[in-house]
Symmetry: C2
Subunit: 141 residues, 2 copies
C-alpha cells in the first residue's frame, strides 16, 4: 500500500544549493526564512501563532538515490540510512523543527532552517514538548 | 509535483482501535511495542543501537478526511489542522519520537507509542538533541 502526498507549501531559505547549507554538526540551525502555504490551505493555519515552535515535514525533492547504508560527512564508518539524517533514503522525507517568528497571511516566518530553497512542504504540526522533546536522549555515533 | 512513499515496516502496538489509545494530554506516551522493518530494508538499521531515541515518520492509514480546521478533544475552540496533531489532515503523515529499548534483527523494541497496531512506517531517523529538542518551546493552546 503506497501513500501519495501533495505539497501544501514551499520553504523559502537562503540556500540555493546543498553545498551552501552549513554543516554545523551538533549545532541547532540558525538561518531565517519563510514557509509559504498555498492559499487553498491557509485556513489550516488558524491559531498557529499560539505555538513558538513547529515541526515541518517535507520532501527531499532533489534526492535521486536510495542507499541503505551511508557514510556521513565527518564520519569514517558506514552506518544504516535509518541511523542517519541523509536526504538520500528509501522514502525521501524529512522533518525539521523551526521557531515561528511571525505569521503574515499564508507566510510563516521561521528560524532554524537547513533545507534548500524551494523544498516542498508536506505537513506542519505544533511542536509539543511532552511529545517531541527528549533531553535525556543520547547519540553514540 | 506529488510524492509517493512505500512503507518500510509496520508498528506493532497494544492499540487495535483509535478508541483504545489513551488521550493523556500533556504526558509523554508510555506504551511499549515494536517496529518491524521489512527484511529488504534491514541493512538500513546498521548501528541504529547507538541512539537512545528515534523519530518515526508514519502514515495515518485509517485517515479518510482532510479537514482544514479541527476541534481537538478536551478543547472547545476550532483551530487550523496545522495547529493540531489530528490524524485527519491534507497529507495524513505523522511523526512520533520513541525510545529504542533493543534491536533484534529487523525488529526494534520501543516505548512511547500512541499509534494504532499495524500503522505503516515510512521512515526512521536518529533523534538528535540539537536538531529535535526545544525545551524553550511554548504552546499557548
Amino acid at each position: 500500500m503506497d501513500f501519495t502526498f501533495s505539497p501544501i507549501g514551499l520553504f523559502h531559505t537562503p540556500y540555493g544549493s546543498t553545498e551552501a547549507i552549513p554543516k554545523a554538526f551538533g549545532k541547532t540551525p540558525t538561518a531565517w526564512g519563510s514557509i509559504e502555504i498555498f492559499p487553498e490551505y491557509e485556513k489550516g493555519l488558524l491559531k498557529i501563532e499560539a505555538f513558538t515552535h513547529l515541526l515541518v515535514i517535507f520532501a527531499f525533492h532533489r534526492s535521486t538515490q536510495k542507499p541503505l547504508t551511508v557514510t556521513p560527512p565527518t564520519q569514517e564508518e558506514e552506518r544504516g540510512v535509518f541511523a542517519s539524517r541523509s536526504p538520500h533514503r528509501p522514502n525521501p522525507v524529512g522533518v525539521l523543527t523551526v521557531q515561528l517568528l511571525k505569521r503574515e497571511g499564508n507566510f510563516l516566518f521561521v528560524s532554524g532552517l537547513d533545507v534548500l530553497d524551494g523544498t516542498p512542504v508536506l505537513d506542519i504540526k505544533p511542536y509539543l514538548q511532552h511529545f517531541d522533546c527528549r533531553p535525556e536522549s543520547r547519540a553514540g555515533i
